[in-house]
């Protein structure tokens, strides 16, 4: 009934016989992979044409700072996210304590909070002139900053904290899904062999969840690398700061693209290392999802600790910033009448929803064709490569989107002029399509992670049974796989949706005339140091984000029905 095997499994399809190629699937997969890769390729292309060689200067001066800062940032955000994400996921899944059912979904709430926003808000709260330090000075009679010590929010540590608070939900989400899927009997077996609950977590639950945690961690890492808003505001010199410096201050876009390329190489290395480390593992499960989880009951002291551990990230990552935002918004409720909120909100919603569906469709095509052609390593490569857009800072990605779209538009225009005597102008550039395309490129990694891992868990015997019953690959996908992995699909759709709602830099650059989303509207004021003015719109981003977040949590919980 239930089995998880941690040994190398046979290939899905007998690879010894030459297979009749199905050009349909194969070319569609490659076609969409190439489309998604175009912006990344455009950035590589830009890297070939720097206006001058920037590296001697960088190496002599600031590069060591960039690299050290970036590595520390990655290590800090990565490890904290794993500790918080995995820890809380295990607690709410495997233990009973007060508030557990609320934390199940509440732990996802910080996900709705854009990183740049939380950075602005916490700076207001915690900086020298903020209310907290002012209160401390009033209480203790200090006069100047030199009389006491207070942690500096605008620092590397501050950036690590801010990014962790909004990014740990990726790890939480994926590891919780994995814990929920795990078979109870394996855990029970480990307990019979004398493992304590903690040992059983370390020795059994954690290793089984490792692929999911790795996916979560790689998403967190890429988000950390591509972040500019937070590190810029905190004046933290990470590689993305270097990219913008080369581009905007030194007027050397080629050099900027080179740094971005270096960053992507780094991501590839990181991900490959992880994959190599668990190359020999493969897991399938037709687990006992219908058996209910037998949760540990905790002693009152441990219960209190568990509640505290789960409450902390929710309070810091969501409640506090949300309340501050609320206090600003209340002061400016007059805006509700004046600003065109509905139009902005509907732009945000339509763009994000379209992008979410499209991105997941592409992810399904890529994941399923890999399954169909396990012997074609190129497909695996294509799929991995097409996820790289996520590691690019948004504005650089936007340039990568502009180049192929404008080239396409201008070629069509030239062709039409030559052969039909009229021009078509810009067909795609400067339309919402460009934004949706950018979202797909950017967030494909997010949906691929979820779709890939769900599909990988469907045992190959399903394909074999279905195919021997006469269904073709498309029918198998539609009638067997999609229903089986619908939880994973929903997760992917919702995560991309929320991410797209928050996306800012690419939207700014690619949008049509007179076109605002909630995020661009907020930015317009926030970038002029008038966050209060846009607090209401910012709240709307978060509120619209909360709905899918709660849906998400429900869909995950319901994967295990016998609660």
């Amino acid at each position: 009934m239930n089995d998880i095997t941690a040994t190398a499994a046979p290939p899905l399809i007998d690879t010894r016989k030459p297979r009749r190629l199905m050009p349909g699937w194969y070319s569609i997969a490659w076609g969409s992979a190439i489309l998604v890769m175009l912006p990344v390729l455009a950035v590589f292309w830009l890297a070939l044409f720097p206006t001058e060689n920037i590296w001697p200067h960088l190496v002599d001066t600031i590069l060591p700072v960039y690299i050290k800062t970036t590595l520390l940032l990655l290590a800090g955000v990565g490890s904290l996210s794993v500790i918080i994400g995995v820890g809380t996921a295990w607690l709410v899944t495997m233990c009973n304590f007060p508030g557990r059912r609320i934390f199940e979904w509440a732990l996802l709430l910080p996900f709705a909070m854009p990183a740049y926003l939380i950075a602005y808000l916490y700076t207001d709260l915690l900086e020298y002139a903020g209310p907290l330090q002012t209160l401390l000075r009033d209480l203790f009679g200090w006069q100047t900053a030199r009389e006491y010590w207070f942690p500096e929010i605008r620092s590397l540590g501050g950036a690590i904290l801010m990014l962790t608070l909004v990014l740990y939900p990726y790890v939480y989400l994926l590891s919780r899904a994995s814990f929920l899927e795990q078979s109870m009997s394996i855990r029970d077996a480990s307990r019979i062999f004398g493992c304590s609950p903690l040992q059983s977590f370390y020795r059994v639950s954690l290793p089984i969840a490792r692929p999911a945690i790795a996916v979560g961690l790689s998403l967190v890492s890429m988000e950390t690398l591509n972040d500019f808003g937070t590190v810029d505001y905190f004046a933290v010199k990470s590689l993305s700061a270097g990219i913008y410096d080369a581009w905007l201050n030194m007027g050397n876009l080629g050099a900027a693209a080179q740094i971005a390329t270096l960053m992507m190489v780094f991501v590839i290395l990181l991900i490959s290392l992880e994959r190599i480390a668990r190359a020999r593992q493969r897991q399938f499960t037709n687990a006992d999802r219908f058996g209910s989880i037998d949760r540990y009951s905790l002693s009152p002291g441990k219960s209190a600790l568990a509640t505290l551990a789960c409450a902390l990230p929710v309070v810091l990552g969501f409640l506090v910033p949300f309340l501050v935002l609320g206090s600003y918004a209340v002061r400016r409720l007059d805006q509700l009448g004046e600003a065109d909120f509905l139009a902005h909100a509907s732009h945000s919603f339509t763009l994000s929803a379209t992008a979410a569906l499209l991105t997941v469709a592409v992810a399904i095509v890529l994941a399923y064709s890999k399954r169909l052609y396990p012997s074609h390593r190129s497909l695996t490569l294509a799929s991995r490569f097409s996820s790289l857009g996520y590691a690019l800072p948004g504005a650089v990605l936007a340039i990568g989107v502009i180049i192929p779209l404008a080239a396409f538009d201008n070629s069509v225009d030239a062709f039409m002029r030559e052969h039909f005597g009229f021009g078509t102008g810009l067909l795609l550039s400067g339309t919402p399509f460009a934004i949706v395309f950018a979202y797909c490129v950017r967030f494909l990694a997010v949906s691929t992670g979820s779709v890939d891992s769900s599909l990988a868990k469907v045992t190959p015997s399903m394909d074999m049974a279905s195919r021997s019953l006469g269904l073709n690959p498309l029918q198998t996908l539609r009638r067997v796989h999609l229903p089986l992995i619908r939880g994973g699909l929903l997760t992917a759709v919702l995560v991309v949706f929320v991410d797209a709602m928050k996306e800012l830099p690419a939207t700014l650059i690619l949008r049509p005339f007179n076109y605002d989303t909630l995020a661009t509207y907020v930015y317009q004021y926030a970038s002029d140091e008038m966050l209060e003015t846009s607090a209401l719109a910012a709240m709307l981003i978060v509120l619209v984000g909360i709905v899918p977040v709660i849906l998400l949590s429900r869909s995950i919980t319901s994967t295990r029905q016998g609660r």
Binding site: H57, Y128, F513
Partner: protein, 341 residues
């Protein structure tokens, strides 16, 4: 399948995206926030009947213009400093603004030498000094900031911010690169904290006693002083004196917001009309009132606030093109002395 879906989605979406094609209009790629220029554009439309369409972003618009090429819908570039204007000229994306009206309205130090960009408003980068802890006349020049007596008393935003790069560029232009490096390094040693935040945050830090001197653009003073929505900012502004540096020699460092005409502008006439309008008496007056900037045009009466707090001061008259050309060098200097580290 997916390609088709994408196309359909794109088509569906573009139906409710605003496609700017009508005759009487002008399309603007703006590096300035929309809400700052909106009142001016509304006045322009009211006066001429020409509709103004805007895309605002602080980066990437030049690249968009470049790759859209001959089919680009952009007519006018509006920028919040001279940097993107300089880049646009370097990359051959703009055409000369052929207008006697503009030439007559804007003094030559605020125009590029070949008419490829024009300044619309000016501001000065000045020193905000604490009323309580800095005496009148104690600091007089940018060069004074390097004096060790200010150790641990100066606040500024990142050295890589375009406003600071422009100031460093002007020091390079006036004093040479070697002296500029020594100056920057000495200023770094005087910083109260690692460069961070924005110009307003520096004044806030002076108010709260974290530092005694701050670098900031002039218009922030007006913005803080009149901020009825967040009254604490009024207190920040009231805690400082405005010091216009180098009044006995070259004058205070100036920067501009400006405009350029796109090379392939589909509506060049409307574009020129807009730029002429923005240098007109009416617009120049509005500019100063909306954002507390100085009109570039001579003979415009300043707003009461500007008159009261800024008064007459000596402005550096070096051509801004000669300052912005040092931008990359200035950025390298910031790296070299580790100003932001």
């Amino acid at each position: 399948m997916t390609a088709k879906k994408a196309l359909l989605a794109g088509l569906a979406l573009s139906t409710f995206g605003s496609v700017a094609q009508a005759a009487d209009e002008v399309n603007i790629y703006s590096y300035r926030q929309e809400f700052l220029i909106k009142p001016l554009l509304e006045a322009f439309t009211a006066e001429t009947g020409i509709k103004a369409n805007v895309i605002f972003s602080k980066k990437g618009l030049l690249e968009r213009l470049e790759h859209e090429g001959a089919n680009s819908p952009a007519d006018v570039l509006l920028t919040s400093d001279v940097g993107p204007l300089y880049d646009a000229v370097q990359r051959d994306l703009v055409a000369p603004i052929d207008s006697d009206i503009v030439d007559a309205n804007v003094p030559s130090q605020y125009r590029s030498k070949d008419d490829k960009w024009v300044g619309l408003t000016a501001r000065s980068r000045i020193i905000y000094a604490s009323k309580d802890r800095v005496e009148d006349g104690e600091i007089q020049t940018y060069e004074d900031l390097a004096d060790p007596k200010w150790k641990g008393r100066i606040c500024t935003r990142s050295g890589k911010h375009s406003y600071n790069l422009s100031l460093i560029g002007s020091i390079i232009e006036h004093n040479g690169e070697e002296q500029a490096e020594q100056w920057l390094s000495a200023v770094k040693d005087n910083l109260a904290r690692r460069p961070q935040g924005n110009d307003r945050a520096q004044v806030k830090a002076v108010k709260e006693g974290q530092c005694d001197l701050a670098l900031g653009n002039t218009y922030y003073y007006g913005k803080m002083l009149t901020n009825t929505k967040e009254p604490e900012q009024v207190e920040w502004a009231k805690s400082v004196n405005l010091v216009f540096p180098n009044q006995n020699d070259r004058g205070a460092h100036m920067s501009i917001s400006g405009a350029a005409l796109a090379k392939n502008a589909p509506h060049p006439d409307a574009a020129i009309k807009l730029i002429e309008f923005l240098t007109s008496e009416k617009a120049q007056k509005m500019y100063a009132e909306v954002n507390y900037e100085f009109p570039v045009r001579a003979g415009i009466e300043w707003s009461d606030l500007l008159k009261e707090h800024m008064g007459e001061f000596k402005a550096d008259e070096v051509n801004l093109g000669d300052v912005v050309k040092h931008r990359a060098d200035a950025s390298r200097l910031v790296d070299k002395v580790g100003f932001d580290n």
